[in-house]
Each structure stands twice: as structure tokens, then as C-alpha cells.
């Protein structure tokens, strides 16, 4: 059995000391080991940005694609090999700005992958510009007078787009984050896990302390029921999105793969590429 150390490699991350992404890396490694996966059974697909480098820092299969397109890439991988565990990961710019169209549709489509967003409310790799997660009034190099646009709420968007699994974690709580990733991977369908992963260099507002003062766990809310979509939506709105835990899970909805007519039970990558001459003749006859 592999341990979390087996998911480590010798590449030194180029993240700043103290970056929240280190915890996300560790949580993925621990969750993978806890789930009983072997490194070759996991594919980490990542976007572009500081966080996008994560696929190179885990000893598993990894594909670091183009900016904003992590989800199409990851869905393609899963459709080709349904036996692989596919974790997609990227930043808030990747998932909620340039890639927002894919995020909403991946949620609707409900292919069985796990999507971790390292949400630091800023563009780090390009050295500090506003993100769709930056609050109104947030001052950056690209918003010297403060952001005019309001921050978008990924949890509300996910819930309204028909998500079957929505969770939120925080880099300071490795234990909870690891468990959320495990639950996300186990979920039969698309799992969105938004993670508050502070940028210690460019975001002087949304710091570890800032989150610690504000975040509450949904498990601490009396009577919270993650299968109740309406309650989930109300709670997210009430606490301005500053909640962690499994916000919502629909265990009834079938995943995309289970609904595709004729879709192979075995990994499609192993499909026979030839057909019988009879089958070909049958296809041709339709054009006569």
C-alpha cells in the first residue's frame, strides 16, 4: 500500500514560503494514500498560474495544460480511462475568470472528476492583479483605485449550475481539507472543492489571520444538512461564502459516464480499434 510519501517527488515547488498551495499539495498526497491509490492510478491535471504547477509536484501522472482549460483536459482524460482517478486543480483566475465557461459546464455535465480551486483572491504569478474573487474595493496593480466589480461567489454559482458536490476548505486546516478531497474523489460525479489558499506575497488583506477570524464550519451549524440544496444556498449567502466543509452533496444523481448510451464499462483507452468486415458493410449499406 502506498503512503503519502509515495506521492512525493524531488521537485522543489517554486511557490513562496508560506503559500497556501503547499497545504493543498500535502492534502492531495494524503487523500490519495488514504484512498488506497497507487501513484500510477492518479492523474493530476492542472491549469496555469502559481497553483497550476501543482501537477509537477506530486508523484503521479500529471498534465499541466493551458490557462483556464484544466477542466476540458481533465474530462477528456476521464472519458478515455474511467478507471483513473482524475483530480483537476488550478487557481481562481484559471477557474473563475478565463475558465469560467468550462467550470459551469463541467459542473452541469457531472463527469466523475474532482476539481480543486486554490482560491487566493488575486493573480499571483503575474505579480498582483485583481481576480474575479477579489472583493469590491480591493486595491491591486490593475485596480489602483480599488476593484469596481464585485467578487463572484463560486459556491452559489456551483449550486445554481446543478453541482452534485460542493465543498470548501482552508489551507490552514489540513485535516479537513484532506477529508474533503477524499470525499470529493469518492463522490460519483463532479466534485468542486474551493480552497482558501492565501497568497502571502500579493494579498495583504485575505491573510491566514483574516480567514481564521471569519471562517466557520458547516458542521458547527446546528441542523445543517448537506443534502438540502436550499439550505446550502441560504447558508452560503448568509455567511458571505465564508464557510468550510461539505456544503452540498447529491448522492442520487448519476454521473455523466453512467448516463452515456453504450459507453464502455472498460476504459475506452483499451477499446478495440478494428471492426468486423460485417460491421463495416452494415455501415456502408446505409449510404446505398
Amino acid at each position: 500500500m502506498a503512503t503519502f510519501k509515495d506521492f512525493r517527488n524531488d521537485v522543489k515547488p517554486n511557490w513562496c514560503p508560506g503559500c497556501g498551495d503547499f497545504s493543498v499539495q500535502a492534502a492531495i498526497q494524503r487523500a490519495a494514500a488514504n484512498l488506497g491509490l497507487e501513484p500510477h492510478e492518479l492523474a493530476v491535471i492542472s491549469g496555469i498560474g502559481c497553483s497550476g504547477r501543482i501537477s509537477g509536484y506530486i508523484h503521479s501522472y500529471g498534465f499541466h495544460g493551458t490557462h483556464g482549460r484544466v477542466l476540458p483536459l481533465a474530462q477528456g482524460v476521464k472519458m478515455a480511462n474511467r478507471d483513473l482517478t482524475v483530480i483537476a486543480a488550478g487557481g481562481d483566475g484559471d477557474g473563475f475568470a478565463i475558465g469560467m465557461g468550462h467550470t459551469v459546464h463541467a459542473i452541469r455535465r457531472n463527469i466523475d472528476i474532482t476539481y480543486i480551486v486554490m482560491d487566493n483572491q488575486i493573480y499571483g504569478l503575474t505579480k498582483g492583479q485583481t481576480s474575479p474573487r477579489s472583493a469590491a474595493g480591493f486595491q491591486t496593480k490593475s485596480t489602483p483605485h480599488g476593484s469596481i466589480e464585485p467578487a463572484l461567489s463560486p459556491l452559489e454559482i456551483a449550486l445554481s449550475a446543478g453541482a452534485t458536490f460542493v465543498a470548501q476548505g482552508f489551507s490552514s486546516d489540513l485535516k479537513e481539507l484532506t477529508s474533503l478531497i477524499e470525499e470529493g474523489v469518492k463522490h460519483k460525479g463532479f466534485a468542486l472543492i474551493n480552497v482558501f489558499s492565501p497568497c502571502v506575497t500579493y494579498n495583504k488583506v485575505n491573510t491566514y489571520e483574516w480567514f481564521k477570524e471569519r471562517l466557520i464550519k458547516v458542521s458547527d451549524i446546528e441542523g445543517y444538512d448537506p443534502s438540502d440544496r436550499e439550505m446550502a444556498m441560504q447558508t452560503v449567502m448568509k455567511y458571505d461564502g465564508l464557510v468550510t466543509g461539505i456544503i452540498y452533496q447529491n448522492k442520487e444523481q448519476k454521473s455523466y459516464q453512467e448516463l452515456v448510451p453504450g459507453y464502455s464499462e472498460a476504459p475506452l483507452a483499451e477499446a478495440e480499434l478494428k471492426m468486423s468486415k460485417e460491421k463495416f458493410a452494415e455501415l456502408v449499406a446505409e449510404f446505398m
Binding site: 481533465a74 464502455s264 478494428k274 460491421k279 449510404f287
Partner: protein
Amino acid sequence: MIEQLSWKVGGQQGEGIESTGEIFSTALNRLGYYLYGYRHFSSRIKGGHTNNKIRVSTKPVRAVADDLDILVAFDQETIDFNFHELRDGGIVIADAKFNPVIPEGKGVALYAVPFTDIATQLGNPLMKNMVAIGATSAVLDLDAAVFESVVVDTFGRKGAQVVEKNMEAIRAGAQYMKEQLDGSTKTMKLAKADGKRRMFMIGNDAIALGAIAGGARFMAAYPITPASEIMEYLIKKLPDFGGAVIQTEDEIAACTMAIGANYAGVRAFTASAGPGLSLMAEAIGLAGMTETPLVVVDTQRGGPSTGLPTKQEQSDLLAMIYGTHGEIPKIVMAPSTVEEAFYDMAEAFNLAEEYQCPVIFLSDLQLSLGKQTVEPLDYDRIEIRRGKLMNGELPPLPDKDNFKRYEVTPDGVSPRVLPGTKYGIHHVTGVEHAETGRPSETAANRRAQMEKRMRKLEHIHFPTPVHKQLRHEEPDLLLVGFLSTRGAIEEAMERLEQDGVKVNHAHIRLLHPFPVDDVRPLVEKAKRVVVVEQNATGQLANLLKMNVGHADKIASVLKFDGNPFLPGDVYTKCKELLAQWPPLKISAMM
């Protein structure tokens, strides 16, 4: 008696013009005639003039006819719009309902047939199309019974009574027309065909069938004219093979999803037209940089921007060769017939895996949507070759070492393992990377990896990079084209030969890497070269000049008005160019 017929049916979009053409041509195809159809349509669902021009011949035909023998008109606009195409001695068969009139001064006969009235009397005015088919059959001296099998196939689901009613409409149309005909139309009796049953399909059908034959089991695509039929066919058929099609949110997702699926080991592709290909440019670069096999079909249409979405053009060529930032190895191929589209599409998946790079499969609207008779397709010719894909168990790697997925090799192609394989772990990134896939920005590594990637296509094996028709050792003229212009060029060539011009023809099937060694001797031996293509800037001509030189003897015939080249266009413009050689202007535009 005629060996060849040019027939056109026209009316308002949405009133069954398409099915009229379909039933007429399918029936004739089943009799063993060779058919070539081209639809004129607009980017709207109802209303607006549409027509379907169909050429019928006892011999193979691959071009739209220059003129017209019979025009079937459901409205006056059809006559006004198309009358100029009718040859002297041609006829118009029009619905009497709209009191058709034809211009004077041309030897064309008008027959007003009450299509709608006859159909209404038989119980359903929609059957006016069948009446029109019947009227046509009387002119061609075809028995109405030849349409029966097609009518059964088309209406059988609705019951025997509907089939019989439609047959009755055909017979009634034929009977009415027979009574009207005078001696002048006797010459339109169609010579008998060979009776062989052949396929009748659009290019997109052949591309889709070729994809499945070539082992494609996953497709991601976004609807667009003129590519959607490819996706629709795979949606119908892939479940039989365990595969799937995802209609994505956009073309960026489609292309990137296909890359993800190919990375994980499925033969996957996407198909689109110019606007979609523009969106895919970055993803195609990712496939090039990460050496992931990828097949992308581009069914070209009129550009730029939304351009002429339902019209013929060949203006994406250079964008497809060069349209990613940075430099990647890429294969751009272009079949010259529907048969080649089938074989080449299957082969595209082999090339993508053997060279681990994107393959752009070019088509154009005329090839993709023109419906034509197709020679039998031989499945035995289809090979599956997967290049350096590693099968079976791999030996253990030293502790935590990555598999050298980007190993520098003499031919530039590295061994490839699929995710899920034990001891095959490696990283894949669009960032410049070392042999293990890990990012590396050193100058030495950059040179080694760049040279490795670009080396892959130095010795590409492509069975027939140029379709050649070489009749003369030293021709007066070499005609060059690509994709659907082949038929028009071949027919123009025959006419030029009759005028005493010695003509050779080269149709380029591999556009990138350009088959310099195949093309250069053809250009060198020709006195003059005319490149025939459907764009405004002479993209293929420029490619030719760049690769083989001889700019001073290369001229262009260009057409970019949205309509396909007719054989007469090519012939006339070549004559003009030859008469004033060296050309004052570099091109002779239509």
C-alpha cells in the same frame, strides 16, 4: 439521348427543396448513374432562396456543371435567380400556381405544371415535390417506378398509404408532363446507366466513417456549419463501439478535451470550421508542445469572421499551417475526393500517433456537403498503427525517477506511455521541459527538445502527397489545386487539351510539411503554372513559391464569391492568362 444531365430544383428554404433533390438523386444513384450535387443555401431555417443543383452522368463526375438542362421552380425567384444558367434548349418546369414567366430571347421552353393543385387534389399539398419529380421523370423518359424504393425508404415509417399517395403524386406529375411535352425535349432521354449500386454520400459522411474505421472512439465538438454532420454521425454510431461524443460548451473545450482523451490513450478528435479553428489555436499548440496525438478536422467555409457561413471557400490554409504561436511540428492534409476523405481520415489517426503531433484534416464546404456517388470503400486498406506507444509491463524505474517520455531520439519520436501504466509516471506540460517532462529553461535543453520535436516530420511517410495527372514530359501548363477543385480542374484540363494546350495537373494532398521533392520537378518542367484556389490572396500559390521557387512563372486563378469553381471558370481564366502571358496581373479573379 444524353449521357449527362444538369438538373436544379429551387424554391424557398424550408419547403422541401432539399428532400426533392434527395429523392430524385438517390433514385438515380440506385440506377447506377454517377451523381454530383451542390446545395445553395443560406444561414437561416425558413425562407430565402435555396436550390439543389444535381449533375447526373453515366461516368464519374466531380464538379458542378457549367450550365443547366432542367430547372424545376417552386417560385418566380428561382427562375429569376437561376435562368442565366440554362443552356439553349433547356427547359423550365414550374408550378403553375405562381403564373411563372421566363425572360425572352433564349431558346428555353417553359412548362407550367400545377404541382400544388395536383398534390392538393391527391390529399396533401406538401406532395408538390413528388409531382415535380414525376414531371422531371417524364422528360428523362424514366419510369415513375424507379422512385418507388426511395419513396418506401423515405415514407415507409408513415405507412403504406402515405407511400402509395406519394407514388401516385409522382405518376400524376409524369402523366401531366407527358401530355405537355412536344418533340423538342426528346433529346433529354437519359442514356442507360450500368445499374451498379454505389454509395451516395456527402464528404462529411466519408470523414465520419473514416474516423470510426480509423479507430476514433471519442469525439468532442461544438456545432458549426459545415462540420456538424460529422459529429451527428458519430453520436449515432459510436455507442455501437463503446465510445462517446461530448457536445462541449465551445471549441476550446472540444479541442482540449480531445487532447486529454488522446493523452489517456483513446483515438479522439474534433471537427469544426474556421471560427472554431481560430478558437482552438492555443490548444493545438499545446498538443504540439506536449507531443500529444490529435486530429482536428477543418471544413473550410467563407471567412473571415462569420464570413459566408454556408458558402464555399479555401481560405484557412495558411492559418492551419502557421496558426499557433511558437513553432510546432504539425501535419496538414487535404483529400481531393470523397473516397480519399475516408481513407485519409483513418490514416490521420495513424500519423497523429506515429509522429505524436496534431494533424489538421482540411476539407472545404463543397467537399464536405456536396452529395455524390462514391466508389466502393475497401476496409481492408485500413491499417491501425500506433507508433511508439508502449504496451505491456514496463521495467521499474530508479526511485521516483520519471519515465523519459521526451527522450531525445534519432527520429525525434519518443516512447509514449499512457496514464495508468505502472512505472510509466512522467510529467506533461506546455512549459518547455526536459526528457522526463519536468520544466527546464536551460538553453541546451531548449535546443535539444526543439530540434527533437521539429525533427519528427523531416522524413514523414505520407503515401500519396500529390495526386498527379501527368500527360506531358514538358507541359505548357501545370494546373495546381487542393480539395474540391479537382473535378473542375480535370474538366478544364480536357477542354484546354482539345485547344492544343499541353496540360499537367497536380492536386496537393499533403500541404504541410510541403512535399517539395514531389512538386518541384513538376513545376520545373512546366512552362507555366496556374494555381486554382478559392481565396482572395492565392495562399496555395504563395506556399508553392515559398517551397519550390519559380515565382516568375506561377499565376493564380482565384474565386472567393462563395460559389464553387465551375469547369468553365477554370478553362476561361486559363485561356485569358495564357493569351497575355506573362500575366500583367498576378491573378485572374472570377
